[in-house]
Amino acid sequence: MKFKNLSEYINIEEFRKCTALFTTFFKASAFTFGGGLAIIKVIEQDIVEKHKFMSSNEFMEYATLSQTMPGVIAVNCATLVGRHGAGFPGMLAAGIGAILPALVLMIIATILAGKIPQQGPLMGAMRGIRAASAALVASAAFSLGQYNIKTTFSIIMMIAAFLFVAMGDMGVPLIIVISGVVGCVYQSVRRYRERRNSNGD
């Protein structure tokens, strides 16, 4: 029996596009520390200049959208750009490319970290590192607060979220949903009152 030509099953042009998307996001994810925003500059060069999937403006539009949408920013960017570049297969290729390096490297790191003997100097080192980690989480809260806590409303939201989670009355997912709703309601009310006040004058 005779095999059909491979190109009857696979569109070569589409396959080439998907490979380019996969490698772009694979590379970006494998070599960018800290994820999120840092990754976007790296991707822009490949997508816009090297492979010419879209214009720089279109790319920046997707990059902005990937930060406002819920989900992992880097994967959002991959799925949006991938879909624009090569449809549904492109979305899968780019998305998997973005996920795979982090998944594999983190599994390896977790296995290696588990092999560290929990005694002697290494145990001491681990305890020191954990204390530093806790401090870095605290300072992350501090620097996020510097940017986001500016109004009375935001102070109330911060304290309320802290109290609810500290009391253990509410799960974190529920707190996030509620604070989103509260934010929505508060801003609508604020705009409504501003409009009424300016009409009244």
Partner: protein, 190 residues
């Protein structure tokens, strides 16, 4: 095993849909579900240190880590696919909605509530982690008010305070600070 992996997957799909504006809120969400996946606060401190060394988004690293600790490699894959799934759904279904309402204010409105709440949630996470990793081995943080000197490890507390101050005030590279803390720990805490 299959059921546990499915629970990981489902939980991280939920986390993915709720992580607005990046991975910041991932840590509080994981802590809130830590008991159901038998992850301790000390392990979450390790996650934070490992995330600095491993490239990639923190949400993916966190999902892989928790999944692996709970159910090995299948768990890691299940949790990571879960946290990524929203991005795929968004790109297919919701992208048009988001693109259409982009200039409308409701996304900014939602964020105006979530962002300050996130600060409070992360502060609570820092306290949860600190209360476990700053104690002497075998001591319970519940005794801290009865017997503070016997409960807390003085070296750990000093490392904690110094790292926080140096990182906030002088913006010194966190990886360097973590390595330094490890070296100090190896000599003093062994």
């Amino acid at each position: 095993m299959v059921i546990r992996c499915f629970r990981l997957f489902y939980t991280f799909v939920k986390f993915g849909f709720l992580s607005f504006g990046g991975g910041y809120v991932m840590l509080p969400m994981i802590i809130s579900e830590a008991q159901s996946f038998s992850v301790s606060a000390a392990q979450i401190a390790d996650l934070y240190a490992l995330d600095m060394l491993v490239p990639g988004p923190i949400s993916i690293n966190a999902a892989t880590y928790v999944g692996y600790l709970y159910q090995g490699i299948p768990g890691a894959v299940a949790a990571t696919l879960g946290v990524s799934l929203p991005s795929f759904i968004m790109a297919v279904v919701l992208m048009h909605i988001f693109a259409h309402y982009k200039d409308n204010n409701w996304l900014t409105d939602i964020m105006s509530g979530i962002k300050p709440a996130t600060v409070g949630l992360i502060a609570a996470s820092a306290i949860t982690i600190a209360s476990e990793v700053l104690t002497k081995p075998g001591q319970n943080i519940g005794d801290v008010f009865v017997n503070p000197i016997g409960t807390l490890s003085l070296t750990c507390v000093i490392i904690f305070v110094l790292t926080a101050i140096v990182n906030i005030r002088f913006k010194i590279n966190p990886i360097l600070l973590t390595v330094l803390a490890g070296v100090v720990g190896a000599f003093v805490l062994a």
